[in-house]
């Protein structure tokens, strides 16, 4: 496997107004379509499942459509499109909303449900049967003594293609193609991660973060993609990777195509004007001796990088996110908590402006040993780290007069909302937030939860959790 990673990598930067033309030219530059499909091949296209939220939260559907058409035209027997199950959102729910199966069927391709949700959404959840199906869908693959559950499709198909949308990202600067396997790196490792988290509360968080990144790299070694496409036509900056209130779209009209993830991601970062030696993922990859040793050896066969550079503004730090009536303080934070906190805060800023306006001025503390809050009256502690490391903080007690005593007396501060978990659950945070400030003061969140209810979201979620635990 490592041999494949160290062979001379080829990357093509293609800038064209029309996506289809860029794709055709890019494939041609990398050696022609025969490099990526042969008569009778089965091909798996991995593309992140953010399809619910429109472009450019995910790669443009027109690009995916063209890719499928090219592969079918050149002899592909079956083209499978899917992504690894996203935590708490089943692929069946996404399909049900967007009608992806019917669309891909019309292109003679197949949308795959890697969380088997197509089975248990139709019928009742038969544990025994689902367990068998799950076992048939996944295989155990051991890397560095650790066992990962990997979809058979990834292991068995003749060709593997990653189609990835580039947007800014709070963890790795931007949504790199290696991140497409992020969810599989955590899948089935819930207990291990909880243990890691408990340990990290008393030790250096960097160790935990290294473990998270290391796992992601391990997963990327299981199957090296034959073709990686980083879609840089429309890029969300400021508050990506989702189209939040503060996100803004910038156009580069470019595709970066490559024959391995690492080189393609390195070139992508350079186009975005990022210092790759500050990117935790790339630094870890290089420390492990993976990828091209000499970066200048990455063969660029398209447009020059210098002509394609576009400087984008990355994600804000958590404490810089503008939330009305909210003072945010952050301590040391693990990557997983940072990611969830980032989305929670941006969601509030984008979709709950009225709730924020109605809420009293409050402080939100995130991470290990956060600084003292400005406001003690209403306080939110986000995540296990914040809860555990502030047990003896001053804000836990407040001074107050009782009705009968004139003297001030110290008493327990009850106006603290503790959001447990490492990382806390996104939906749970919003639910507790609404409960704490009251439904009447949170009309936006009330609406949001009614929307979820309309989708029978909890049923899907319950089944997905059951499936994960099998």
């Amino acid at each position: 496997m490592n041999d494949e990673l160290t062979k001379e990598p080829q990357v093509a930067i293609i800038r064209k107004k029309v996506k289809k033309n860029a794709l055709i030219e890019g494939i041609e530059k990398l050696g022609g379509i025969e490099q990526f499909v042969k008569e009778g091949d089965d091909i798996f296209i991995n593309t992140p499942m953010l399809l619910l939220l429109g472009n450019p939260n995910h790669s443009h559907m027109e690009l995916l459509t063209e890719l499928i058409k090219i592969l079918k035209k050149n002899g592909a027997r079956k083209v499978f499109i899917g992504a690894f199950p996203k935590t708490h959102i089943s692929t069946k729910l996404i399909d049900q909303i967007l009608g992806l199966s019917t669309y891909f069927n019309s292109l003679e391709a197949e949308f795959v449900f890697l969380d088997n949700s197509d089975i248990y959404s139709k019928n009742s959840f038969n544990e025994e049967k689902i367990k068998q199906i799950k076992q048939a869908t996944y295989s155990d693959v051991k890397i560095k003594g650790k066992s990962y559950k990997v979809p058979n499709l990834l292991l068995e198909t003749e060709k593997y293609i990653v189609l990835n949308q580039i947007n800014v990202d709070p963890i790795f600067m931007c949504t790199l193609s290696m991140r497409c396997n992020e969810l599989i790196s955590e899948f089935g490792l819930k207990k291990e991660m909880e243990a890691e988290c408990n340990e990290a509360n008393y030790r250096d968080l960097n160790i935990m973060n290294d473990k998270i990144i290391s796992r992601l790299i391990d997963i990327n070694l299981i199957r090296i993609p034959d073709l990686v496409i980083n879609d840089m036509y429309e890029i969300l900056e400021h508050a990506g990777p989702l189209n939040y209130y503060e996100s803004s779209m910038t156009n580069l009209d470019a595709l970066v195509l490559g024959t391995d993830s690492i080189s393609t991601d390195i070139i992508t970062l350079r186009i975005l004007g990022q210092n790759i030696f500050e990117n935790k993922l790339i630094v870890n990859v290089r420390e492990r001796g993976l990828g091209p040793k000499d970066l200048s050896k990455i063969k660029n066969i398209g447009e020059s990088i210098d002509n394609s550079i576009i400087n984008i503004t990355g994600c804000k730090d958590l404490s810089d996110i503008n939330l009305l009536n909210t003072q945010i303080e952050t301590g040391d934070i693990c990557l997983r908590c940072k990611k969830v906190a980032y989305h929670c805060l941006n969601y509030l800023a984008s979709q709950a402006s009225k709730d924020l306006k109605y809420s009293p001025v409050h402080s939100l503390l995130i991470g290990k040993n956060p600084p003292d809050p400005l406001y003690n009256k209403d306080l939110i502690l986000f995540g296990d780290c914040a809860i555990k490391t502030t047990q003896n903080s001053d804000f836990r007690t407040i001074k107050g007069k009782s009705l009968f005593r004139k003297k001030e007396k110290e008493k327990k501060n009850k106006n603290i909302l503790e959001i447990e978990g490492c990382p806390p659950n996104f939906f749970n945070f919003l639910k507790q937030y609404m409960k704490y400030f009251g439904k009447a003061s949170c009309p936006n969140l009330n609406y949001f939860f009614k929307v979820l209810k309309a989708y029978k979201y909890s049923k899907y979620q319950k089944n997905l959790i059951k499936w994960e635990e099998l």
Binding site: L53, G54, I97, T102, N251, S353, K354, N444, Y447
Partner: protein, 529 residues
């Protein structure tokens, strides 16, 4: 080659306006010209001389140019020769004092005017300054090939009703601006706005849109008092459907003296009552002229079409206007929904309806954020407008095949970076036969137009009832009619969306009253005082 002439009636009317302005200038504001009526240039509206004078004085500086003197040019088709030059002297912007035809060789073109407008403007300024010691504020350039079109239009408008005029006027200007047959330089914001708007409309006629919008409006008969210290104006608008199905849409512009009313003798409420009685209309509105004009000039800011934030701000301003009842506007008879007792009574049942507390800041935020979050920044949206009345059979979900004949318009919106870039009318024959199968329509049309992200199918009767109940009768308390609209939104026959995005799913799954309870706290502010 014969001389190119703008139609006679226009010239005569123009001379009368100039003569009136000259007399007004020599006699001051006291001029009595009650019996005289002039046509407002290029419109079907015959108005009192004072009204024409006042409108030009008010509208021209605001929408076209606020500086003095104008030069009109008629140029050859290829832009290489000047056919006619007319110099208009104005005492103030919009008030023309004289029009003088200059000799064709006053300025000799040495280049293509279309390609060198900037230099031409500077050169002609220089020449005017040298020869006449005068400056101009802007140029109005008409291509000679547009003259017959304008003349034909001018000939027809004499007999046109207001509705016909509006439609033909839109068609004329879409043609003139789109084909570069009429240019104003420097470009005023309204011209720039229209230019961008016509690009956006692509293959759609503005005239057809106006015609369709008028057909969707409910019947009404109301007056608006546009108040100002200078010259209050009254607009009377009537839309009615005759027994033979002929649609009447008329607008009259009057001064208070036309109604024998004195602006200073009555307070505004009583004045509006008088207007309501004299014109015998169903209801009347009071609003300040400058507020309407400011709002209109905000609309014509070109970025409104392409800048989401500007559009959001505009909607916010509009909603703020609506919530400012009895501050910015009022209505006679007073709407029942503003009755405090009624509001209190409705509140007991858990519904907070108070239009004075309309959450203007939140509504636009909520709408745009929902759109951005669920639709994304880059998408194609297909809207199918159908009319179930066109079906031979009684429409039901079972006979969806026959519904294809009910399609009226299929419109594709191409949205880039959160703003609509192109609107395209699609031939109805391209829609697959089963109109109820939206995924099939998406798959089929995506082959030709690229991936269509969202499809909305809506019945015309529903659009009509939304306009009637939520725009024209927003302030009325017709709860059942309003609830009926929401029920229809939940019915697939009248409204359908694919994919079923979260807000639509909620609309479908929730009971009507529960929906009202969910949305009212978002749309109405919590704090009453």
């Amino acid at each position: 080659m014969g001389r190119i002439m703008i139609y006679k009636e226009f010239i005569e009317n123009w001379n009368k306006i100039i003569a009136y302005n000259q007399r007004l200038d020599s006699k001051g504001q006291t001029i009595n010209s009650k019996s005289k009526e002039y046509r407002f240039p290029l419109t079907s509206l015959k108005l009192k001389a004072q009204v024409v004078h006042y409108l030009m004085k008010t509208l021209y500086p605001l929408f076209i140019n606020d500086q003095e003197n104008v030069l009109d040019l008629i140029i050859s088709e290829n832009g290489e020769k000047i056919e006619e030059i007319i110099f208009h002297r104005t005492k103030q912007s919009g008030i023309y004092h004289s029009s003088e035809k200059l000799s064709n060789d006053f300025f000799k073109l040495k280049y293509n005017l279309f390609k060198n407008l900037d230099s031409f403007f500077n050169d002609i300024q220089e020449k005017l300054l040298k020869k006449k010691k005068l400056n101009i504020s802007h140029l109005r350039i008409v291509n000679s090939s547009a003259v017959p079109i304008i003349n034909e239009y001018g000939d027809k408008i004499k007999t046109y009703s207001f509705k016909e005029f509006l439609i033909e006027f839109a068609a004329l200007f879409q043609k003139l601006i789109k084909e570069n047959l009429f240019i104003i330089y420097p470009e005023p914001t309204i011209y720039n706005f229209l230019k961008k708007f016509f690009i956006l409309l692509n293959n759609i006629d503005l005239a057809s849109i106006l015609k369709y919008i008028i057909s969707l409006l409910p019947n009404f008969n109301f007056a608006v008092l546009l108040d100002s210290d200078d010259y209050p104006l009254v607009i009377e608008v009537i839309r009615s459907l005759g027994n033979e199905g002929n649609l009447n849409f008329d607008l009259k512009l009057l001064g208070l003296d036309d109604l024998s009313l004195n602006s200073t003798a009555l307070d505004r409420k009583n004045l509006l009552k008088e207007i309501n009685e004299k014109l015998n209309v169903d209801y009347s509105y009071y609003v300040q002229q400058n507020q309407i004009l400011n709002f209109l000039s905000d609309i014509f800011e070109v970025e409104v079409l392409t800048n989401k934030e500007k559009l959001k701000l505009l909607i916010e301003k509009f909603l703020y206007g609506i919530r400012s009842y009895e501050k910015v506007w009022f209505k006679i008879p007073k709407p029942f929904s503003y009755n405090t007792l009624l509001r209190f009574f409705v509140r007991i049942f858990g519904f907070q309806i108070n239009l004075r507390k309309l959450s203007h800041w939140e509504i636009s935020d909520f709408l745009f954020n929902t759109l951005d979050f669920y639709f994304g920044a880059e998408y194609k949206l297909l809207i199918i407008i159908k009319d179930l009345d066109l079906s031979n059979q009684k429409p039901s979900k079972k006979n969806s095949d026959s519904l294809k004949s009910t399609i009226k318009y299929t419109i594709l919106f191409n949205v880039h970076n959160q703003s609509t870039r192109i609107i395209k009318l699609i031939n109805n024959n391209e829609i697959p036969s089963d109109l109820s199968n939206l995924p099939e329509i998406r798959n089929e049309l995506s082959k030709k137009y690229g991936y269509i992200n969202y499809i909305i199918q809506i019945d015309e009767s529903l659009i009509r009832s939304i306009i009637k109940n939520y725009i024209f009768e927003l302030t009325s308390i017709k709860a059942f009619a309003k609830i009926k609209v929401i029920r229809r939104l939940k019915n697939d026959l009248y409204f359908k969306m694919f994919p079923e995005l979260p807000p639509y799913k909620l609309l479908k799954e929730k009971g009507t009253l529960s929906l009202v309870r969910t949305f009212l706290p978002i749309f109405i502010d919590k704090h009453q005082f």
